[in-house]
């Protein structure tokens, strides 16, 4: 066995490597000064972070020149367009989260380099997860990103809700990792000792009961990571206790990287009709429960948590369609939807971060009259909420349209119907904050600490991107289609 590393292998791991180094540099840059100035904004950390994320993003394009480089690191990872798109979502999300982190954490008196460094480390492992092609690398990547996120969830360690949410998240997360790992062991056993996804797809152990049980257990592990019913109970508690910026980061990046990986996994292993039906059931329940539970939430964070659960449900629809025989073409809506969801959600959490700078506001009525005080933030939040609800001219609309029209074309009318009903329900709770912002008088005590340029910039740019993806979706749809074709080919 030869132990050389080819140029393609170095290029494949370059974004993740840059991100990990960025995290280390952030930690070192903050050495010796973290104790005193936890109230300062520490712009240098954001600068290091932004530089690192931009470099990593550029590295994606360096890779992007050729077609898929095939199996790298003895089949542990690959370097195809699909993986790069996943890494792209993660890197952009990390960039904006880093931009927002400084002023928000400083206002809470707990700004230290660990937070931004954890974003960078987490982003590195998420980029690897999007490119991972064997069971070992998938497991290691998913665990590394989870560990980073557990710590971020409990970042405000003096607050009960934070520690409680983080611990709940940790126990349930580790519990589900146990099942994920057991499933991988079963697949490994059933396929006669293959860990690479291509070997698993080629092996003749697919009819084995052990293999089916293994796939099911892996699915449970992933369902937990993306917050699908019945493994969603941690989501609202964690969202409520964690720093707003960390919630935005988790909501997008963890979901995106896990879904990219799950999509790759399912396209390789197949799994058959039974699994597709199970996934369809999960999807239906997730959409309905997420939307119905969001109706009554007064806390914006909890509302976003249930809305995130509902969006997970929509994202499972293309996987069901892909599993039922249509193959890769329906999965093409996943990368597009993730980009749209990332832009939309980051804009929304930017506004949530802006209103909780200075004080921890997250109730719907805290938004009363926001449009009069801060029209830009109100506009950004409105665009984000309309996009989440799937109103035309926004990215969210195109994403939902792709998913639902594909489901209808392939004959999954019930799934599409549930998706539409879910969207209709969601309009109610997404419009409540909008009404609050534009049509209510501000309370007399309403004082808003000026948001930092980082937060304002994020809201503006992500809101703009939401509209852009909605008006000019063609190039991104085309890219998504090509990326999914690249998985198997």
């Amino acid at each position: 066995m030869e132990l050389t590393i080819s140029g393609a292998e170095i290029l494949a791991i370059l974004p993740a490597a840059i991100l990990v180094v960025t995290g280390l540099v952030q930690l070192f840059a903050d050495l010796g000064r973290s104790a005193e100035d936890k109230h300062s904004e520490k712009t240098h950390l954001a600068m290091i972070g932004v530089t690192g994320f931009l470099l990593a993003f550029a590295a994606l394009f360096v890779q992007g020149s050729g077609a898929s480089a095939g199996e790298l690191y003895a089949g542990a990872m690959t370097d195809d367009l699909f993986g790069r798109m996943g890494a792209g979502v993660v890197i952009m999300t990390g960039l904006f989260s880093t931009l927002m982190a400084g002023s928000y954490l400083a206002s809470r008196g707990s700004n230290s380099a660990e937070f931004t460094a954890l974003i960078s480390f987490g982003a590195g492992s998420m980029a690897l997860l999007c490119q991972a092609t064997n069971l070992i690398s998938i497991f290691v990547a998913i665990e590394t990103l989870s560990l980073a996120v557990y710590v971020m969830a409990g970042y405000f360690k003096d607050e009960r809700a934070a520690s409680e949410g983080a611990f709940k998240y940790f126990v349930l997360g580790a519990f589900s990792s146990g099942f994920l790992l057991l499933g991988m062991a079963f697949i490994y056993g059933a396929t006669g000792g293959s860990v690479a996804l291509t070997d698993i797809a080629a092996s003749n152990g697919q009819q084995d009961t052990l293999f089916s049980v293994g796939t099911l257990l892996v699915l449970i592990g992933f369902a937990f990571k993306v917050g699908a019913v019945p493994f969603h109970s941690w989501v609202p508690d964690v969202y409520q206790g964690a720093p707003v910026v960390a919630v935005g980061w988790m909501a997008v990046a963890v979901k995106a990287s896990s879904l990219f990986c799950l999509c790759r996994f399912l396209l390789f292993t197949g799994g058959g009709n039974d699994l597709a039906q199970l996934l369809a059931a999960i999807s239906v329940v997730t959409i309905l429960l997420g939307n119905l539970a969001a109706l009554n939430q007064q806390s914006l964070k909890r509302m976003m948590a249930y809305s995130g659960i509902a969006h997970t449900g929509y994202l499972l629809i293309p996987l069901v369609v892909a599993l039922s025989g249509d193959g890769s073409s329906s999965a093409a809506s996943i990368p597009f939807y993730m980009f749209a969801y990332a832009a939309t959600t980051l804009a929304a959490f930017g506004v949530l971060a802006a209103i909780s700078v200075g004080s921890d506001r997250d109730q719907v009525h805290d938004l009363d009259g926001l449009a009069k005080n801060r029209p830009l933030l109100a506009l950004g939040f409105t665009v984000a909420l309309l996009s989440l609800a799937g109103i035309p001219l926004t990215a969210g609309f195109i994403g939902k349209l792709l998913i639902l029209s594909n489901a209808i074309q392939q004959g999954f009318l019930l799934l599409a119907l549930v998706g539409i009903i879910g969207s209709l329900i969601s309009v109610y709770y997404y419009l409540r904050p909008v009404v609050s912002m534009w049509f209510r008088e501000p309370k007399s005590s309403f004082e808003l600490v000026p948001a930092s340029w980082g937060i304002t910039f994020t809201v503006a740019l992500c809101g703009f991107a939401t509209i852009c993806f909605g008006l000019f979706p063609d190039w991104l749809i085309d890219l998504s289609k090509r990326s999914v074709e690249a998985i198997l080919g």
Binding site: F139, S163, F167, G193, V195, D237
Partner: protein, 106 residues
């Protein structure tokens, strides 16, 4: 030497014990130990599968053993995070009882 089914039964037994511990026990420390037990139960399954496959179809192929080494490293990191969360909770609220911790609802 043990046969593959015997080793798998052992693994399944340990995994069940771990699952029971996570679900039923209320002491955080015991929950953390049960989580480790679950991961290590899978490790037994992985090395037993790995040994069988190395003897038969894929001579010289040791993915199962390598997988186990990776899982050990991950489990150690996980234990570190779990114990530090435990310390935070203990220092702040002087309890390691999950019942007293569960006050969020929704």
């Amino acid at each position: 030497m043990f046969s593959l089914p015997a080793l798998l039964y052992l693994s399944a037994f340990l995994f069940s014990v771990g699952t029971y511990g996570v679900l039923a026990r209320r002491n955080i420390l015991v929950v953390l130990m049960s989580l480790e037990l679950m991961l290590n139960a899978v490790n037994i399954a992985l090395v037993s599968f790995g040994r069988v496959h190395a003897l038969t179809a894929f001579a010289g192929e040791h993915s199962g053993q390598i997988f186990t080494l990776m899982v050990l490293a991950v489990a150690a990191a996980e234990a570190a995070i779990g114990l530090s969360l435990l310390l935070v909770i203990w220092r702040r609220w002087n309890t390691i009882d999950l019942r007293q911790l569960c006050r969020l609802n929704g």
